[in-house]
Symmetry: D2
Subunit: 308 residues, 4 copies
């Protein structure tokens, strides 16, 4: 069971949720409902919205460089937002911002941080001692190396092999953490005093499935770009789990922008010059072969997989 925050932490969060204050800023009711709540992800992780700026109307307000709210009507605003998304106008979407508190395994954090246009404050293992929490996959997530895709997963591991893997992951995690503590400690197991290794050194013994946490702040344009790449079936399952949780939050925060994002990005199809030409010919009733298409065998396979 994932109980990502302790009772003490929950008490602090509850206190915040009980004390609304008046503001003159734009307020998104859908996002207020998410504030501070820890949405569980994986076995010990979570995503929490800590703060946000703007809403759908703020996108229009910026696009119109208006003095007031910038809203003409909800319908009008949605049309403008869809137009902006369709025609790749990114700056109005940059006018909204969200700040998340995320708890995640280190190997997921290493993928995540590759998105550079964001602000990050990570829990410091030079300064603090990490908790004994490791990501151990559910059995249905234990997959073999894919034979088609060099960087993907294939079939789920069968029973005994899965058990062997889970045992190794669990035992190595526990042993590494025991040794981490032993190196940090100012006493040996029998009580004899020792100096205790510096934290910045001891951490090097910890495996990549240990959990870390950070504050991550990003504008809506770059957040949607992150979600497009990470809520995608080609992304590794473990980061996709976070991206999926964040998609649900964004849909409540800026419903019009998220709808446009879904239609023009997530579920959109990009056709190469060659693929578009083949479709145009097919629509006229022509039969086109790979040889005539200008596509390589691999591209043709991808194209046929998509369009038959």
């Amino acid at each position: 069971m994932n109980t990502p925050v302790s009772a003490d932490q929950q008490a602090e969060i509850d206190a915040l949720r009980d004390s609304p204050q008046p503001t003159l800023r734009a307020v998104s009711p859908g996002m207020e409902a998410h504030l501070y709540t820890a949405h569980p992800v994986l076995d010990h992780g979570f995503v929490r919205v800590v703060d946000y700026m703007g809403d759908d109307a703020a996108i229009c307000q910026a696009a119109r460089v208006s003095y007031g709210r910038g809203t003409k009507s909800v319908q009008n605003d949605e049309g403008l937002i869809r137009y902006l998304m369709r025609h790749w106008h990114s700056t109005p979407f940059e006018m909204c911002e969200a700040k998340f508190h995320v708890k995640l395994p280190v190997f997921v954090a290493r993928q995540w941080i590759r998105h550079r246009t964001a602000n990050v404050n990570e829990y410091s293992a030079r300064y603090s001692i990490l908790d004994r929490e490791f990501y151990i996959p559910q059995p249905e997530q234990l997959a073999a190396q894919s034979r088609q895709n060099n960087q993907g997963r294939g079939e789920v591991l069968e029973g005994e092999e899965a058990q062997r893997v889970l045992s190794l992951l669990r035992e190595d995690a526990m042993r590494s953490y025991d040794h981490y503590e032993a190196m940090l400690s100012q006493a040996q197991p029998d009580g004899t005093p020792q100096q205790g290794l510096a934290r910045e050194l001891a951490r090097m013994n910890l495996p990549a499935n240990i959990y870390t946490q950070w504050y991550w702040k990003v504008d809506l344009h770059n957040l949607l770009h992150f979600l497009r790449l990470r809520a995608d079936p080609h992304a590794q399952y473990e980061i996709r789990a976070y991206a999926d949780a964040m998609c649900a939050i964004v849909a409540d925060w800026v419903p019009a922008a998220f709808g446009a994002f879904r239609d023009y990005r997530m579920e959109a199809v990009s056709l190469s010059a060659q693929a578009a030409a083949v479709l145009r010919r097919r629509l006229k009733g022509e039969v086109v072969t790979q040889e005539e298409s200008g596509m390589s065998a691999r591209e043709w396979r991808e194209f046929e997989g998509d369009w038959g």
Copy 2:
């Protein structure tokens, strides 16, 4: 007189200021008081805060990657903020964000935009028609080219010359705008119809003192960096006027962070390796000459100007 917003615009702004809403987010009372108010700058410009995220406590909350508010005590927080600023920890300051609506002359906008780590939506002169508003300096700002500093101002122009300059600026601005309108118009002065030049072309006739406006959104770390460079005596007066207005706003928004910024950045002194060595010797009572200092004549002059 600077009346930067029209009656209609003011009515829209007033409506926003009259409708506070509850929020669970961090609220900065000092910043709420500024929200939407247009602070006049130069003859027709302004700076207005449109939205913000975070406060002094949010800086500490991020630095501590905490579950709750992150505050221990106001005094404790201020100490942490000063420590972070003193030791060049920039990421916690990136966790606050502000969005401004700014009206400014084009030549100021061209300097401003050089700060790339910000989000901008500018009023489009391809899409819309610019207003007939131009920056005309106050007589006390009409200065001669500096003889010491190749990119600065020297003495204020004397009476008649100043009048000649003001006349030229005013007349050229009015004539350029008249011709801008004439080119855009679908009728000649005598009423004969004409096609009317595209806006994206007609705008090229307008001089750099015409006013434009934009939404500008930036995190606190990058905002302070902007203010450090632009609220500086070496910056051109016209952009400094905006930076000064924004300093006053930031001081109300995040008083502890602004205090630390003032002490460790704005009013701080940076000593080169050579200058520090000279001061150390002077403190021991030694007299050091330029020849012994390792500084060039120019550096020595700057150093003596500062330290006597």
Copy 3:
């Protein structure tokens, strides 16, 4: 006639072109041929390649994090580059870099600078005096405001109106520049001494069609993004002229990357979820109406314009 560089400048450039030096770095023969040559753009502008880093092989080398050249075979490399482009892997393309010297009208510079992920050094009008060079469009570029597209051009202006526009642009440019010089001068026309206005102030009288110049340095990924948006028919003609000239240079620099960019970006077609669904139904022989399509009237019009 566009003679963008003076005889002196050309002599300096020629001296550089006559002195090749040995290097151990990756060399792109196609790009060496462009080095320093000023490609004329518009009436007084140009684009010159000043330096570059990397070639097609360097993209593969980085993608493979290889010790040597990273090349397996030209064919193999091209396949990898096309795969990377097709699947939105941007970081290998960031491993190439180009530095351009560009001379361009200020209103073009103002659009260009919106692309923030680049390094820029602009000629300083605080420090130096600008030249008397203004962009005056060719008659065939003088277009009316579009009636369909609020930010585009429509039909070319007819004879007399075009002449009136050209006269206004030319006269206002010359007069503004005359007054710029008069304000800067340390003597009145009759020789009476005056102080001379600071350059940083006098420049505000100059219209947006005056030429400026800058050094612009950018990685290949961001350069291609710039070209995608600015070599597009929706971009304003004047910036497109620069983008077109740069496309020709990039095609010689990294032929495989440019080919992939052309097929998967410039000439690619992006279908919304709804548009893809309509095409799938059409391929099965169904007739789909706007009402059934899930598209707005405007989207349907854009879709029909593209697919019939």
Copy 4:
């Protein structure tokens, strides 16, 4: 012994070093001498220059937006470079770029990547299998947690404790890697076939002292900023070892810029407003106490540590 590249890799590198080609670009002889050479860092790591753009003269060329080389004289150029550095002009330094191939432990990579203004291609452990190479500190680097500084190291560990730590680090590294291989393998130890876990999952068992490698490309301004923070005594020793190696390279690449950086950044002293005021009073012969200084006890301690 650190033999960071294999014989095959060295052969590839040697081939590159043996085939200089002519170029018209700016060439830095000091940097050519470093090209491709793997400078050993820590026990298995290295830094190699793969490519570069620009030299000291290119900084001046960009600052002057010049047509030719931009050089007036070496002395003149050095003066300009020192002026630019002293007055925080960053854009001319952005006009130089370097690309490094770095092999480094994962916990160092995690600190390094926090510098976001750079381009990175990391060896993919989703796609490839990592090598059995782990960072094991030299005994003289095994330090206790500092008692003064919460995120630093204190005294070196004494004999037996050091041996215990080294044994734990070595044994856990080997065991984790054995299990990594066992999970990936398509056969059990006794030869019974198994499916083999996906690489993207198996990697989570590897500790943070395993080596990874990447291509890292950065402009000179941001490289110097990185070096200022990471070649600093407060930085963790392991990343400082890389920064020190890179300082030596940069000093050969752009000697004037590096000299200015050393004098105005690395060895410069920043005085807060309060500290500067105290020094001014001391220079006049006054004795100033902490109480009068406006500094907190902690700041005063830091100040006294520096100035006596």
